[in-house]
């Protein structure tokens, strides 16, 4: 009896001290370095005034999506308040204008550097990782300073950030601290001297401003940050849109496309074989179309070298293969063929081909279901200001009919993919996008 009691006491003591050590480590990991001021000494502290730096800052704010995310629909630019759906609840972006009370008006360049590099606010609060600070930590100090300097020129808007709607205790500081210790380390850009200047510029843009991995990288159930160069594919679950792998040849044509074609998809929203839709269209509309042609080409150059021959995830032998049906064939003939062609060949510069289109045969059919339900237009961009669009079938076709027609196009003209079922269609109908 006595020994048992003693063992228990020892056990409790060990657990207690382990927890104490862990929390001390988490606290140190998240806040500790801010007690030491030596590291910050080399950081630029002043706001730049020269027009070249300001232009660079504005450019990065555009292509990095700062403006897109920190502007509410119909609201003042950069005043924040845009609602962003996450698997853990809705989050509202902050005010980045020069407002002293509610924006960045009282921030210094080094406060801003801390936010982008360490994901930490001016008052020491840890920022929610909806702000992709793994990617902003890739930025060079000069670029961070340029962005900050430009933001300080944005006219102040007195608009407070709305309260986030995240289930307690998920957004609290202790939970964020633990999460960050598990998933976040700043990763400043390391250039690869074996590659060209152009390749390195592309890599830098993909990993920093482009934050491609935020959607195209894999997260775990805790919403971990993917590595900044992870392009192996991801899924936006509240929105029900997939971000295909950019390295798997069964999901992307980047390896076989001309570099200019990939660059066009990013800048114009359309290449000879692909059209941007859903969240990718948002990227093109708000960020991609502001890329300089040279930078878009640099990104294409980098992406092109990332593609590997990955074992195909599509078509595992056990999964049910899509096959055509009388219903699917008839729906295709009545609703789809006039634009996408009898043989799924599409119409150049207007409607994408369905035959041989990797987006049509993705193992996850959600993007295809989104298109069939909601149709819609591609983004208006400077070089494609008046895109053609697709009618919605949300109201005219049932879940079964949508599945039928998608199974038809997933099994014709050489296309081969897993079968779509009506339950998957129903889930997309219920999504928040």
């Amino acid at each position: 009896m006595k020994t048992r009691c003693l063992t228990f006491k020892w056990l409790a003591a060990i657990v207690f001290s382990a927890l104490l050590t862990l929390s001390a480590w988490v606290t140190w990991d998240n806040w500790g370095r801010f007690f030491l001021t030596t590291a910050a000494a080399s950081l630029p502290t002043e706001t730049l005034q020269n027009s070249q730096a300001l232009a660079r800052g504005e450019y990065l704010a555009h292509i990095g999506g700062c403006i897109a995310c920190h502007t509410a629909k119909g609201g003042e630019p950069l005043a924040g308040g845009r609602r962003i759906e996450t698997p853990f609840g809705a989050v509202f972006s902050s005010n980045l204008t020069s407002s002293k009370a509610l924006g960045l008006g009282q921030w210094t360049a080094s406060d801003f550097h801390n936010a982008l590099h360490w994901g930490r606010s001016r008052d020491g609060r840890l920022l929610l990782p909806v702000f992709p600070y793994n990617h902003t930590s890739v930025f060079t100090a000069a670029d961070v300073q340029a962005i900050f300097s430009w933001l300080q020129t944005v006219k102040p808007v007195e608009q407070a950030q709305p309260e986030h709607r995240i289930a307690w205790p998920l957004g609290t500081q202790p939970v964020l601290a633990v999460w960050r210790s598990m998933f976040f380390t700043p990763t400043p850009f390391k250039s690869n001297h074996n590659e060209s200047e152009e390749w390195n510029r592309g890599a830098y843009l993909v990993q920093s401003a482009g934050h491609c991995a935020a959607c195209h990288g894999q997260r775990n159930a805790l919403g971990s940050f993917p590595a900044v160069d992870d392009l192996s594919g991801g899924f936006l679950s509240p929105q029900m849109w997939g971000a295909p792998s950019l390295i798997d040849t069964t999901q992307t044509t980047i390896a076989t496309s001309k570099l200019n074609d990939t660059a066009n998809l990013l800048r114009i929203g359309q290449s000879s074989s692909a059209h941007a839709s859903g969240p990718m269209a948002e990227f093109v509309q708000h960020s991609g179309q502001h890329l300089t042609p040279a930078d878009a080409l640099a990104i294409a150059t980098y992406l092109n070298t990332q593609v590997q021959s990955v074992k195909t995830k599509n078509a595992t032998p056990t999964s049910l293969q899509a096959s055509s049906s009388t219903s699917g064939q008839a729906i295709y003939k009545n609703h789809c063929a006039s634009c996408h062609g009898e043989k799924g060949e599409g119409k150049t510069n207007a409607y994408p081909a369905l035959a041989g289109n990797p987006a049509v045969v993705l193992a996850q059919p959600e993007n295809l279901i989104q298109m069939a339900l909601y149709g819609g237009y591609g983004p208006s961009t400077t070089e494609r200001p008046r895109p053609y669009g697709m009618p919605p079938y949300l109201f005219t076709l049932t879940n079964q009919q949508i599945a039928d027609v998608l199974n038809h196009i997933r099994s014709q003209w050489g296309n081969q993919a897993q079968a779509v079922n009506p339950i998957q269609v129903d889930r997309v109908r219920a999504a928040a996008y």
Binding site: A72, P379, F395
Partner: protein, 235 residues
């Protein structure tokens, strides 16, 4: 003569997409027709409103309202968000230019009572000053067909659609740039009055000459941010 010319013009517009697909607006607005009917003449299910012949300014304002979160409807938001304002303007101009026949007025399975119709007519043409409700005709024109100062016609619309808009305005689900006159008016309407006026409006024949009128300048307390031309004082 003039009439035959417009028929000729309309048939030319109708034939255009067959002749050449390449770049005309008829091809570009195909997605709209799924809900708003052929050439935007109105939806087949008695809900989606007519677009053809509406004032271009009104249509453009609505497209902007959907893109900018002042009017809420997932389908319309998703359609409009990717499009630039100049392209939206071009689509609005295109629909405004279409002169296509109206569908017959909607007939309700249980026809509205004569008292309801009388109240509806009164609200539409005289308003109810005691309840601070101006007559619809004050802004929407004597024949209720709207005007070129961004004010839409009220005839040729299904009562379900009209009712849903009044309700959305009173609840703040539909809004426009401030001052939001329709929101103010809708808040003063009781549910019964809203049902009466929408039933009466939906039962009216569309006048033969259906294009939008030139606006009249108004001297009322109503101020509309979406239709500033209506009010001399606002200029």
């Amino acid at each position: 003569m003039k009439k035959s010319f417009s028929i000729w013009l309309a048939s030319l517009l109708a034939l255009a997409p067959i002749a050449s697909f390449a770049s005309d607006m008829a091809e570009r607005i195909k997605p709209c027709e799924a809900c708003h009917g052929n050439q935007g003449r109105a939806g087949p299910d008695g809900y989606y409103p007519r677009l053809a012949g509406k004032p271009a300014g009104y249509l453009y304002n609505q497209m902007q309202n959907f893109s900018q979160g002042r009017r809420h409807y997932t389908m319309m938001r998703r359609m409009m968000e990717p499009l630039s304002p100049p392209y939206q303007r071009e689509m609005a101009d295109y629909f405004a230019s279409l002169q296509v026949p109206y569908l017959p007025p909607t007939v309700k399975s249980t026809p509205p009572s004569s008292t309801q119709m009388a109240r509806g007519k009164q609200l539409a043409l005289q308003g109810d000053p005691a309840l601070k409700i101006p007559a619809c005709s004050t802004c929407h024109g004597d024949n209720l067909m709207g005007n070129t100062a961004n004010v839409p016609s009220l005839l040729g619309m299904p009562s379900a659609y009209l009712g849903a808009q009044l309700s959305a305005w009173s609840l703040g689900d539909r809004a426009t740039v401030a001052p939001d006159c329709m929101s103010e008016i809708a808040k003063h309407l009781t549910a019964d009055d809203a049902a009466a006026v929408t039933s009466w409006l939906a039962a009216q024949e569309v006048p033969h000459k259906s294009s939008a009128n030139k606006p009249k300048r108004l001297v009322t307390h109503v101020r509309c941010g979406s239709a500033p031309e209506l009010h001399g004082a606002m200029q």
